[in-house]
């Protein structure tokens, strides 16, 4: 079951960070410390509405946190979740390596049991 959870989280993170605009937004938030849809859209070739949508995706993945700021929301990167994301994405990078290691472990265990 833990595998299932990991796959699911990976999917969410993949969706959140798999988009170049959202990666650029995370970079901007890291550099600036915080930002709103308006301030971020000044640095990006997309509309404020589009930025708002992207921020929603990042928010749902837990990568940013919002606080009310007048009519808008002010966003910061969630450092802990980002660190987890980095660790996870690195591990997702070797998804097949991990599967093959499990295949190896299972097959070798069966072989040993058969020989005992």
């Amino acid at each position: 079951m833990s595998t299932a959870v990991a796959e699911k989280v990976d999917d969410d993170l993949w969706s959140a960070i798999g988009d170049p605009t959202r990666r650029r937004m995370l970079d901007l938030l890291l550099v600036e410390g915080e930002g709103t849809a308006t301030t971020l859209s000044r640095h990006l070739p997309v509309t404020r509405q589009a930025v708002t949508k992207h921020l929603g995706v990042l928010d749902r993945a837990g990568l940013v946190r919002a606080t009310p700021a007048g009519r808008e929301k002010r966003y910061r990167v969630d450092e802990a979740q980002l660190a987890r994301a980095v660790a996870q994405l690195a591990s997702v990078g070797s998804a097949w390596d991990a599967r093959l290691q499990r295949i190896k472990r299972i097959a070798e265990a069966i072989q040993r049991t058969g020989q005992d």
Binding site: M1, T3, A4, V5, E7, K8, D11, W14, I17, G18, D19, P20, R23, D27, L30, E79, L82, A83, V86, L89, A90, V92, G93, S94, A95, W96, D97, R99, L100, Q101, R102, I103, K104, I106, A107, E108, I110, Q111, G114
Partner: protein, 153 residues
């Protein structure tokens, strides 16, 4: 650069017959990949693999056996749209080739179809990087940042 194929090799201290069973049978697949697997390990069999609880955010993914020649080759397509026949262009093809080696088995895995899926180039590249090398662009920018987190905590 070509983003078409992933290749991996691993040496396993077990007979090709045992390794074939592990890479092909639904019961074993559940142990190393999805939470559930429903298909017959024979060519042409269609089924599905399940991640998590489909009723609570999990995923059901189409799975079609392409080739099964014990104890040498097992291949399947996955990720095609439900109800569609698996074919080049709508799915990823995974092939396991087993070669006797020493007292064990050399298992070679290839996954192809990233290009043929017809996804937009950026997604294609990201997906490929994710599978193969990790997140080069993103990690390069984040590594120093994460290092600062570690220092602070």
């Amino acid at each position: 650069m070509e983003f078409g194929t992933i290749e991996r090799e691993v040496y396993i201290e077990a007979s090709p017959e045992t390794v074939f069973e592990v890479v092909s049978s639904p019961g074993h697949l559940r142990q190393w990949w999805p939470d559930d697997a429903r298909y017959e390990p024979v060519p042409g069999s269609t089924g599905e693999i399940v991640f998590g609880d489909p009723g609570a955010g999990g995923a059901v993914v189409a799975f079609t056996v392409v080739d099964a020649r014990p104890p040498r080759t097992f291949s399947f397509r996955w990720t095609h749209p439900a109800g569609e026949a698996a074919a080049e262009g709508n799915s990823l093809l995974v092939t396991f080739d087993l070669t006797p080696s020493g007292g064990g088995t050399l298992l070679k895995m290839t996954e192809t179809g990233f290009r043929e899926m017809g996804w937009e180039a950026a997604v294609l590249e990201q997906q490929y990087q994710e599978h193969v090398t990790g997140w080069d662009f993103y990690l390069a920018r984040l590594a120093p940042y994460v290092a600062t987190l570690r220092v602070r905590s």
